[in-house]
Symmetry: C2
Amino acid sequence: MTVSLISRYKKLLEKAKDTVILQTTTSIIHWDMETMMPPKAIDHRSQQLALLSQIEHKLSTNPEIGKLLNEIMKHPEYDRLDNIQQRNVYLIKKEYDEQIRLPEDLVSRTAKQKATTIDVWKKAKANKNFSILKPELERLLSLKKKAAEILMKVKETSTSYDAMIDIYEPKMSSETISKIFGDLKEGLISLAGECETAKKQPDVSILKRQVPIRIQRGISNSIAEFVGYDVKSKEAGGRIDETEHPFTIGYYDDVRITTHYYEENFTSALFSTLHECGHALYDQNLNPELMFQPVGTGCSMGFHESQSRFVENIIGRSREFWLYFLPRLKMLTGRILSNVDLDAFVFAINQVKPSKIRVEADEVTYGLHIIIRFNLEQDLFGDKITVRELPEVWNQNYKDYLGVDIKNDAEGVMQDTHWASGLYGYFPSYTLGNIYSAQISAALEKDKLDWRNQIAQGNFLEIRRWLTKNIHTHGKIFEPSVLLKTVTGEELTVNPYLNYLNQKYSLLYNF
Amino acid sequence: MTVSLISRYKKLLEKAKDTVILQTTTSIIHWDMETMMPPKAIDHRSQQLALLSQIEHKLSTNPEIGKLLNEIMKHPEYDRLDNIQQRNVYLIKKEYDEQIRLPEDLVSRTAKQKATTIDVWKKAKANKNFSILKPELERLLSLKKKAAEILMKVKETSTSYDAMIDIYEPKMSSETISKIFGDLKEGLISLAGECETAKKQPDVSILKRQVPIRIQRGISNSIAEFVGYDVKSKEAGGRIDETEHPFTIGYYDDVRITTHYYEENFTSALFSTLHECGHALYDQNLNPELMFQPVGTGCSMGFHESQSRFVENIIGRSREFWLYFLPRLKMLTGRILSNVDLDAFVFAINQVKPSKIRVEADEVTYGLHIIIRFNLEQDLFGDKITVRELPEVWNQNYKDYLGVDIKNDAEGVMQDTHWASGLYGYFPSYTLGNIYSAQISAALEKDKLDWRNQIAQGNFLEIRRWLTKNIHTHGKIFEPSVLLKTVTGEELTVNPYLNYLNQKYSLLYNF
């Protein structure tokens, strides 16, 4: 390879590295906003975030990047760059082509509007008053739509909403999602019906026993230890904090999760910690050689959610996990749970019951919450509904899909932060993640890794190593569809997920 | 005023605003590093800080700033800009002229080296082993010296060390400091001698009573409440965290302090909280109209320290404060301090005793710790001593000035973070702050504000208002010497400080 190609490639990567480092810095600032920031600073913070996004936009649209890309891609020896190098070039070019078309002003206005809208959303939700949120949400959505229309042309997607999806799940289309969600919907509704009408029903009263928050913190730490997410040692690369809504942020050696402890609902924090640990393991176990390169990050949000949902649901809600962990939980909680029976507990944490709140939904009805949001996002971006109409349409959908009556918008359309955070196109990732996670666990079994047995013995290490080797370490080297095929040998298919659910719940509910 | 002058001035301020916002962002990242960051992230963090400093350097050397400055300053109607506007232009020009001469590479290498050196300092201090720190400190000092030599030419100071001082105390020179420290040294040594040989001596055993950290946190909150530093309400603009070394960072609506709780030395956190609260009040009570402008920050570090030391010492170690606060302290600590006598307590917290650790020093010997550091910094920048020689010279100085034997470098030359953080030229600020604080309290009295009586009644509000009106609100509109003259009617003089000390300690020690 000629020196000029290598040196240009290195120069290009240096530029990309700055962008990555600025992004990880912005993450910390976001994290601080959610966890530590004095409330008075919100306006100041929104200006900081706007400036950071402006600078990031400037860094990633530096004309020198365009020049280097051009020189590298037209270089006669371009093909001698290896796969990873070519992928880095591709990812930088994709970002560059997109960002260069987004006006700087749009970028910084969006960042400011996002911070404001999140803040107003919190107040509106606390006051159960959508009308406070409405004007801000309209402004934010309008900015997002503008960006989506620009991105649609660059990304050559068939709708502007598809351009949003592509941000989180590259190359995925709303058409594919519609098809797969269609199959899923039938399966979920039918399964939910069977569970609801089954004779055998769980006793969930044990889940309402009061567990002091001090003890719940200990449970979270114990879970972190179990999965190998270090938050305690002198070499720790993680930490657990408390926020209204749990999340994970981070990159390699600084990956932080949050949770929310409720005294009278201890499994909430327990499962959210398992969930966020799944994310954290992904970010921590990326290949260190790829750090600060564009390929050195998660493959897609769907894949990210596959990791969190694998740990939360497939592992965390399995009988095998509790065979190991219930005695530990009993030790940590003393008398509170001492008389709890394993099977009764496993049944209780897997109760299927249509509900209003997505993050509290069981595995079976969860997908329906997502399908509703996916349809609404499509309609918002397709100008079929307006922000003003959202609450009504939302409530009607919840009645139709889940049979529940939404009493106010705090438990309805305002329950999630996503739309107020501008994260349109993100929701499908959750269910794609569920579908991937079932395909992945089938692949684990095909690989003769008896994960159920391992978990029952309290051993998560082998599973984590398998996930790291087969998924984490590949970062963003492949498109999600390619990685899925590589790991599982299959295309995207809803069957393993429906099989997993049917098998699990027919056993639990005895039908 | 012509439109062109106004519009250029506004454009210039917009550019300067970005720099300020980036600086406040960097502050949060620094704060996070000291308080929350998982230890594994240190290298990543140093890269983030390096990038931020590089970007800040780029923002403040944007050629457009040079062009705007030129156009504004040569504008025929320049004189019609008001004082504050002209001061903003001056401050932007000063920063621009300096930064433009500092090579980008030097700036980012210094930022990286700083993060590394702080990290290594922590380890070296824990291991009481200066040789671990030495090479990193040499590298950092050498980078700092390079910058100082460049800055010396721009700032037209007579030595490179003076260029460092000017960063923290604009227009102050090492010559002036030497003179004033000379007077001070005589006074302090003589006063310390009188206290040491006095018959009446305090019983400090009461200060060693064990106070659980949970209770100490309550004391800190109570102090914050007393001075009006809001860390609790829904409108709070502050917070208190725990770090090895207490500090304050922040800007207007997000000003954070830290402290360190020692179970067997409860007054350590108590006085450090008072100290940092003094800083916090300054930053919180700047004139909101000046926010994000170059004038919208503290006048100098000396003035900043004047506020912290006023609250910590003049207020916090006064009999009047404890007349009010001791009953509260007793309430918070229950039986632990119930039998403590007011005068015995006030005497104990004002014990004069030469010691090894600056931050634990009493008011009388404190200045000697600073004078030693000031002399060593002068010698380091004057190439009269090397980093290698520091420990020996340090120990000899401590023997000569304070009569104490330093047993290891952790309690010697490595006790402070400043040199490992690259903060050369900062130390004199502490003692200048003490001197200013005494001049300020004399001015308070001249203004007929009977602060002793106010404090005794638990009323800090009037004093705070006076400080805000006379100092905080002026931000950086004036040079420190001008602000001092405006507030106190006097030039810099050591007499009020020595008078204050002599009066206070002759009363306490009865000589």
